[in-house]
């Protein structure tokens, strides 16, 4: 079959099984857009800004485990997409980004809408390609999908000069990829795995700490089985929530800067730590010199460079989470059958004492809407089964702390890069992937403004996302740091002119609601979710003095948490709605 380069792009996506491409046209991509016009197999979703395209593809990938696909034009199309590419890279999300490029003959001439796409994206992709011959195009696209979605996943950029999309060649989509320089390991080393199990079974104060690798690696069931077989405490990172059911008494909640008291204290005090698909990020560990001083660490990760990067590890295991955990489970069962039974009753007693602090508690009597209450009520209305995306700030932490995730892939947030603007476009990708599921975007009045234009995309494709704007009239997380660490000098963390979000949502053709009293929260959420086919933008006017607790200040250790608000919090200045 002889096809043009543009047709090869579209046909390759089809042969790769791609459902959606999130994109925005422009000169260098016009041949490809023409090829899209002539087919119906791959649906193109027209966003309103290329950042939105990348976050939407990212949300789709997080919710499904399949790579998200993006198509943008050269120059500004690419630079607009970079934030979303970097976001996916930091969280190891599989994504293939096709970028138009100026014709080969013009590359390097500072041509109209030329940027060095491969150069600009190099530090924030897993890999990138500049296609130099139309004959290579299908092979490169095949490789891009393979690289994006294997080993430690990540975004791959394929830069395609316009002349190559016009040339023709014989098309045959490759059935397999051979790369001598890329062979991700899947199964861990058996000896190391059995050493790890011996350490775990001999522990007095064990803990299992897991991250996004469990979610991306599809290993939630394996983790749950292993933890339950061992009856050991389990804690998840911000990226790992949903990897273990929140309701299970073995779950200690999220750890890290805004994690539970019990999880951080247990991390500090443990004697054996099993870390799986987590990378000892600074937001998790706090001050490394004070990190878990007396523990022996077992670290399972598909990326060898994650192991031993920040902390020294006694038992490194390179491999995918699911097969490694399966193997651990079968060894644990065999050892138990041989009469080796761990006894960690005293350790659980300690943990229950810590748990009794109820470190996520908040003032339930307040006359103002507490953001935590909105999230708890959202859980109630959706039975904890919604797909929840979030932006970045206090609302993100409250969502992570209070929603309570039953299953993996349902908590979707930018943990690594912390990208404001992520939530709404990510929710579009999730809703497209799961048209019959409830999708909520928890956001703040500052974050939502960063990709607000995507409300228009939601209208065009009838995406009934429920936007939950926890409107505290502040960049709350910035304000919180300024309150704690800058003597309350609130430098530029407050916007003096906020839009009327209800009118704004309505102008985009959606439903807008403002909720100002705690008594109206539940009803508003109920009504919103009852409107199954409408996007409802809920503007919750929340208590603007609320802070996220507990908190480990940067540079603190896990045993140095600020648990409760100090008296000083009450004197926070009040600001009214603009």
């Amino acid at each position: 079959m002889i096809l043009s380069g543009a047709e090869i792009v579209v046909q390759s996506l089809k042969d790769e099984g791609v459902e959606f491409v999130f994109g925005y046209p422009g000169g260098a991509a016009l041949h490809i857009y023409d090829a899209f016009y002539k087919q119906e197999d791959v649906q193109h979703i027209l966003v309103r800004h290329e950042q939105g395209a990348t976050h939407a593809a990212d949300g789709y990938a997080r919710a499904t485990g399949k790579p998200g696909v993006v198509l943008v034009t050269s120059g500004p199309g690419v630079t607009n997409a970079v934030t979303g590419i970097a976001t996916a890279h930091m969280d190891s999300i599989p994504m293939v980004v096709l970028t138009g490029q100026v014709p080969t003959a013009l590359i390097g001439d500072d041509a109209f809408q030329e940027v060095d796409t491969v150069g600009i994206t190099r530090p924030c992709v897993k890999h990138n390609f500049l296609v130099s011959r139309v004959e290579d195009l299908a092979q490169v696209i095949k490789k891009a999908f393979f690289i994006a979605n294997s080993g430690r996943p990540g975004p791959v950029v394929v830069d395609i000069p316009k002349d190559i999309t016009a040339q023709s060649t014989e098309y045959k989509y490759p059935t397999s990829v051979e790369m001598r320089s890329y062979a991700p390991v899947s199964r861990g080393h058996p000896k190391q795995i059995s050493r790890a199990v011996d350490l775990l079974l001999g522990a007095d104060k064990p803990i299992i700490y897991t991250g996004g690798g469990i979610i991306q690696g599809g290993a939630a069931d394996e983790l749950t089985q292993l933890v339950r077989e061992l009856e050991f405490p389990c804690t998840n990172t911000l990226m790992g929530l949903g990897g273990f059911p929140y309701k299970d008494p073995l779950f200690l909640g999220m750890l890290g800067m805004h994690g539970t008291y019990e999880s951080n204290m247990a991390m500090y005090d443990c004697d054996v730590m099993l870390a799986v698909g987590a990378r000892f990020d600074d937001r998790v560990t706090g001050d490394l010199t004070k990190f878990s001083p007396n523990s022996t660490i077992i670290h399972v990760d598909v990326d060898p460079s994650s192991i031993g990067k920040n902390v020294s590890v006694e038992v490194p295991i390179v491999g995918e989470a699911a097969p490694v955990l399966r193997e651990m489970l079968s060894i644990v069962k065999a050892r138990k059958a041989d009469g080796v039974v761990p006894d960690i009753g005293q350790w659980w007693d300690r943990i229950e004492e810590w748990r009794a602090f109820k470190s996520f508690e908040y003032d339930r009597e307040s006359a103002k809407i507490k953001p935590q209450y909105v999230i708890e009520t959202l859980h109630k209305i959706t039975n904890g089964n919604a797909f929840v995306t979030s932006d970045v700030g206090q609302h993100q932490m409250w969502a992570a702390q209070h929603y309570g995730f039953n299953a993996s892939r349902r908590w979707i947030n930018s943990g690594g890069l912390g990208t404001m603007g992520f939530g709404l476009p990510a929710a579009m990708g999730v809703q497209l992937a799961h048209p019959d599921e409830q999708v909520a975007c928890i956001t703040g009045e500052a974050s939502i403004m960063m990709c607000i234009q995507e409300l228009s995309t939601c209208k065009q494709y009838n995406l009934p996302v429920k936007v939950i704007n926890l409107n505290n009239r502040y960049m709350g997380m910035v304000r919180q740091w300024q309150e704690f660490f800058y003597d309350g000098r609130y430098s530029h963390s407050y916007m003096d002119a906020l839009p009327d979000f209800v009118a704004l949502a309505e102008s985009f053709g959606h439903v807008g609601v403002r909720i100002e009293s705690p008594a109206d929260v539940e009803g508003a959420l109920e009504e919103a979710f009852a409107q199954e086919n409408r996007l409802v933008f809920m503007d919750f006017i929340t208590d603007q003095s609320e802070n996220v607790y507990p908190m480990i200040a940067a540079g603190g250790g896990h045993n140095e948490m600020h648990l409760k608000p100090s008296e000083a919090d009450d004197v926070l200045l009040e600001r009214e709605l603009a």
């Binding site: 491969v118 150069g119 530090p123 130099s132 001598r180 320089s181 990326d303 060898p304 460079s305 990067k309």
Partner: protein, 162 residues
């Protein structure tokens, strides 16, 4: 500690910038870097001399291995190996200095490869230490310019990177 890392890399546009970019982005030090095609034209061979604690070197090798273009990698300093660097150095050599410089070149088994009335251009190969020592013994002789290739390395015995 000083380490010599030897790599086989896909001979692709951009491979060199990926490797150089990795060192700058992560703040690793590069003392020297050499690269040239190999007998297999789809591959380049690269030698990187770097310094760092054991933990940093471990990260460097892991991060390099993670690059899709890197086919194979070995830390030569972990085993017995040979390292060589080429230096071309032009010095002022006039009157009685001419004999003296020539003698030094002979002692170091270098070669004078270009001559003018007032200068010698010398070619010298060896481990870094030998080249440094040669420059040191030239004290008093004016160096016009010196060009060093950076280190190339290979393992001793029948071990090979392929």
């Amino acid at each position: 500690m000083r380490r010599i890392i030897s790599l086989l890399v896909e001979n692709e546009a951009g491979a060199l910038s990926r490797i150089a970019g990795l060192f700058s982005a992560r703040g690793y030090n590069i003392e020297s870097l050499t690269v040239a095609p190999t007998e297999d034209e789809s591959l380049s061979r690269m030698t990187i001399v770097t310094r760092g604690s054991d933990a940093i070197i471990e990260q460097i090798t892991k991060q390099l291995n993670k690059l899709i273009d890197v086919v194979r990698l070995v830390d030569l300093t972990e085993g017995r190996h040979i390292e060589r660097e080429l230096m071309l150095i032009k010095v002022i050599a006039e009157r009685e200095e001419r004999e003296e410089v020539k003698r030094l070149v002979d002692i170091f088994r270098g070669r004078i490869i270009d001559v003018t009335n007032s200068t010698y251009t010398i070619e010298l190969t060896g481990p870094v230490g030998k080249l440094d020592a040669f420059i040191e013994t030239l004290q008093g002789v004016e160096v016009v310019e010196a060009v060093r290739s950076g280190v190339s390395g290979i393992s001793r015995g029948d071990r090979a990177l392929r």
